[in-house]
């Protein structure tokens, strides 16, 4: 079986693109389509990924305050067996599904799924860095930040990093984390259009908090 294809409707093999196209015309659309845009924004790299993640179980979980990462997911029309999850900045996303059918043994609305697993709140790498920093583990927070930013930029995921810069309010970060974001993104500054605004907001936030000192941001400009 083509590894980029999925078993659909009890054995029919479809490519990623076919799956995506079908999502516009089949009766599953109502379940899948509304979530595709959000998943693409989260960095999905293929139609297949978008489609799979379109099940959106994790987003629904977060919205409903339900935690846990189930291996089998039932909606009223779909039945997924999930092989792998990956953490994105929007939380856990389905990365690989071993099978999909539309014959759910016991139809259940996605939002009604519950799991017995302990609550595990999803968080972005910046959330986690902030948590570590607030707990006094600033070096660990910076290591996490550098590792994540470097990892994304090394893969050419400039949009992902730019989105972090665009959506993060510097005032919510310590000076160390602000500088961490500005320093780790410095080599890629020409590919991160939101960095300039983040820089300006950072300077304003630092001055607002009376933490400004000469040279603090020198060399980090765009």
């Amino acid at each position: 079986m083509n590894k980029n294809a999925l078993m659909y409707n009890s054995g029919e093999e479809l490519s990623g693109k076919q799956l995506y196209q079908r999502s516009f015309t089949n009766r599953l659309r109502g379940d899948v389509q509304p979530n595709i845009g959000r998943i693409q924004q989260a960095g999905a790299e293929s139609y297949r990924e978008s489609y799979l993640a379109g099940a959106q179980v994790c987003m629904e979980y977060r919205r409903a305050g339900i935690a846990g990462l189930p291996n089998d997911i039932k909606t009223d029309v779909l039945y997924f067996l999930v092989a792998e999850y990956k953490l994105s900045r929007h939380g856990w996303l389905i990365f690989h599904i071993s099978s999909v059918t539309d014959s759910s043994p016991s139809p259940v609305k996605l939002r009604s799924i519950s799991t017995p697993e302990a609550v595990r709140r999803t968080e972005t790498f910046l959330d986690r860095a902030r948590r570590l920093d607030n707990a006094g583990n600033t070096d660990a927070a910076l290591d996490l930040l550098y590792e994540n930013v470097n990892g994304k930029l090394s893969l050419g995921r400039f949009k992902d990093v730019d989105s972090v810069l665009e959506t993060t309010e510097p005032m919510s970060l310590s000076v160390d984390l602000m500088l961490g974001l500005l320093t780790s993104t410095l080599p890629a500054r020409t590919k991160l259009p939101s960095r300039s605004t983040f820089f300006q907001k950072s300077e304003a936030a630092i001055r607002d908090r009376n933490e400004w000192e000469d040279g603090l941001l020198t060399g980090l400009e765009n």
Binding site: D139, D143, Y146, S154, T183, A188, G215
Partner: protein
């Protein structure tokens, strides 16, 4: 500590080593988060070695990250025979240098080759990983230090003010190539290093001098003047590593 005032181009009317300390004057633990460390190597009064002091992640202990030799990138507690220099950078920026040092160590588990390539050509500014494909063949202990600070937006030196083709540097390069040959470095690598014999040499004491200036990036003349004072301090205070 003295404040620099320029009396003509490159002439310093007042000099001071206000940010250069021996380990006896101020223990390494008093670094902000990152600093430079320099020592004289043995009886050879012409050879110094330089590295970066940074505070470790777990226990706050000070470590020294340095390119000791061909593929010998080390992170270890510094010996007391090193003097250290506090660069003129705010403490929070110093913390970013320390974070980058940790990443370099992680990204280069096999070390970094020794060669005369410019700092900007050899170390990926994003990851801190040595990049053989970008035109650089390796670094010296000094260009390694320059590369680290450069990558964090804190260039220590005004590179275009450094002189090239100094006679004593030519002798030093021959000496290094001989050492590489005798230590079993790959013939292809030695061939590349030979091709870099015209590269500008940044001496350890000059980069230490640059970091001791009140403003960075430092002009060569300013760094050079302080370099002489730093060398004298190393020799007068017994900062010699055997």
């Amino acid at each position: 500590m003295g404040r620099w005032t320029l009396d003509g181009v490159g002439k310093l009317s007042q000099t001071a080593l206000g940010r250069v300390f021996t380990a006896h004057e101020r223990p390494f633990e008093q670094i902000d988060f990152a600093a430079l460390a320099i020592t004289q190597l043995g009886a050879d009064t012409e050879q110094r070695h330089i590295g970066i002091l940074y505070k470790g992640e777990s226990d706050g202990g000070v470590l020294m990250l340095h390119l000791a030799w061909h593929y010998k990138l080390k992170s270890e507690p510094p010996e007391s025979t090193y003097a250290w220099i506090r660069p003129p950078i705010p403490r929070p920026r110093s913390r970013q240098v320390a974070a980058f040092c940790r990443m370099i160590l992680k990204e280069n588990p096999n070390g970094i080759p020794y060669a005369f390539s410019p700092a900007s050509d050899s170390l990926d500014k994003q990851s801190g990983k040595f990049s053989n494909g970008s035109g650089g063949y390796g670094l010296t202990c000094t260009t390694f230090v320059l590369a680290v600070f450069d990558a964090t937006g804190l260039p220590l030196a005004q590179y275009n003010t450094w002189p090239s083709n100094r006679q004593e540097d030519e002798r030093w390069r021959e000496h290094i190539i001989g050492l590489l040959e005798r230590s079993g470095a790959e013939p292809e690598h030695i061939q590349k290093v030979r091709a870099e014999r015209d590269a500008i040499r940044y001496r350890p004491e000059e980069v230490a001098g640059a970091a001791a200036c009140t403003m960075i990036p430092a002009h060569f003349n300013d760094a050079y003047e302080l370099a002489g004072q730093i060398v004298a301090k190393l020799q007068n205070t017994g900062c010699v590593t055997w």
